[in-house]
Symmetry: C2
Subunit: 322 residues, 2 copies
């Protein structure tokens, strides 16, 4: 049984190995991705983003617990957590967070946790994240929780990848112009005010709702509607990740969003866009590596040296190399 | 006199126009970049990054004031501020921050402020930021302060672009594992604890120093050395951006870092890397657009539709399209 078969059969060690190959963009990893592809398309991809210090990781752990131990009516679902740490090309930040998180969820065979830094990833974090999501989807996880830190380009990229995006805020951090970025709110399908036991929670909620009204005119004057099949108004939910309070309600909202996506045709639209991106990235990579084969490293170095001396321009150098 | 000549002659309106062309990656913008290139390489590029709510923008304003109104011994320098807002492909966040900032620096012909969102930028924010920096450098600004929000991939990209990178923290935000990212610290040439009049400033400083000792073994047991010409130990400085306290000391550290860069050969190394990146991005773009000319939109759409139905794989589709 080779690595791909073992992953499809549910072997965790093989899954970890294959993810490493895929992250490092090895030929074997690429071939495996292609073989796994027909098995993808079933997982619900949920992005969780927010500034550092909002308690995002703890919240993700609590959400995983709810999926693993739901109420009487529902069966437990298999959950993969992909923690993206774009600030770690340099050191072991991702591993550090990983160990803290492991304490809560260790020993549950229905949970798989993976931290990813951009270190070692050829072609950037967006590519390797998309590839890892493919593997986890094919491996049969019902949910893939993709956790990202920050408020930058990477979050927007993740939102493009996920079916449902949660934006997490915390009281006292998100009340000024800079912290509540309208742009980040507009990628939110569900808003969470975590650390709801801290002072200032009402202010944060009020600020979020005010921003939502600017971004989503339909939100104005309406209550917390999260069950419409026609359009989706991002609900604002409270949670206390340290105790697990509010996690069940967030999971309900994620499920309601999945129903909305399916009935509105939005699921299909997001799938199309995601696969289009995957294909375009692959084509770009292939074009660059084909070009690299036909040009000597020395010639490239000469051109860069000339650029440093300002004896050529980037455009002229490009013309010469291509 | 055309736009490029006008920019070189110091005309602000032409500069604003050219930056728009360059951001939108128009043919005229690309041609202008090439003509401006021989005039680049003089500005000191300083990146300023940190989480939302750290008071980063106010600090950048205060730094600009110091460069404009230095002590007796130094002459005023021309400063450009490039505020990067990767969360704004969707709405007017950048413009909002811009108006707040304008109040402080308006009317000074030696200061030029530009906000950039990824909206409208073909090829991503990294490309358009690099291009805007080229234009501002050629336009004769001594300092280009590149301000970014967040703690993600974009910060690492900016650090690659800048000669000197400031990482800004604030008390009470950066004291847990998540907020103080070792990776972000490792791109820092200078660390600033802003809002130093808030409680908890000692804790934040202590946490930063502890992380520095992990990342920079040389830092251990040494005092705040910021004047070595052999190697550079990132100093941890305090500031209160609302009053301007500490801004002069930060500017001194930035100047000391420039001396270090020049004497150690690191300036030349960073220049080389930056120009190599510029060239590679340009080549990648050219390869993709040349490929697009030879393939029909319909054929691409067919491939993506087949991917959605899982009747082909990304690799097979790439093979067919290339």
């Amino acid at each position: 049984m080779d690595l791909v078969d073992a992953v499809l059969a549910g072997d965790r060690l093989s899954l970890a190995r294959l993810l490493t190959q895929v992250e490092n963009d090895t030929p074997a990893g690429r071939a495996a991705l292609d073989r796994l592809f027909p098995h993808t398309g079933r997982a619900h991809l949920v992005g969780v983003t927010g500034s550092p210090g909002t308690g995002k990781s703890s919240l993700v752990n609590q959400l995983a617990q709810v999926y693993r131990h739901p109420g009487d009516e529902q069966t437990a679902q298999r959950v993969a957590i992909l923690a993206i740490d774009p600030s770690s090309p340099f050191s072991g930040g991702a591993l550090l967070g990983d160990r803290v998180r492991m304490r809560d969820l260790a020993g549950d065979a229905g949970v798989f946790i993976r931290s990813m830094a951009s270190r070692g990833a050829v072609g950037g974090l967006a590519r390797s994240t998309a590839a890892a999501v493919h593997v986890l989807d094919a491996a049969g996880f019902d949910l893939v929780l993709i956790e990202t830190v920050g408020a930058g380009q990477s979050e927007v990229d993740i939102a493009r990848l996920a079916h449902t995006t949660l934006v997490v805020e915390a009281p006292g951090m998100g009340d000024d112009i800079q912290a509540i970025k309208a742009g980040i709110l507009e990628i939110a399908d569900i808003l969470v005010v975590n650390k709801a036991d801290h002072p200032g929670v009402e202010n944060t909620e009020r600020a979020l709702r005010a921003m939502l009204e600017m971004g989503h005119p339909a939100h104005k004057g309406l209550g917390p509607a999260a069950d419409s099949h026609e359009f989706w108004l991002p609900p604002v939910l409270r949670s206390i990740a340290s105790t697990g309070e509010g996690a069940a309600e967030i999971v309900s909202a994620i499920r309601a969003h999945a129903v909305y996506l399916r009935t509105s045709g939005e699921w299909r639209r997001r799938e199309y866009e995601r696969l289009q991106n995957t294909l375009e990235t692959l084509i770009q990579q292939a074009l660059v590596s084909r070009w690299r084969e036909g040009v000597s490293e020395e010639k490239i170095e000469n051109c860069v040296a000339q650029l440093c001396e300002r004896t050529t321009t980037p455009y002229q150098a490009m013309k010469e190399l291509i």
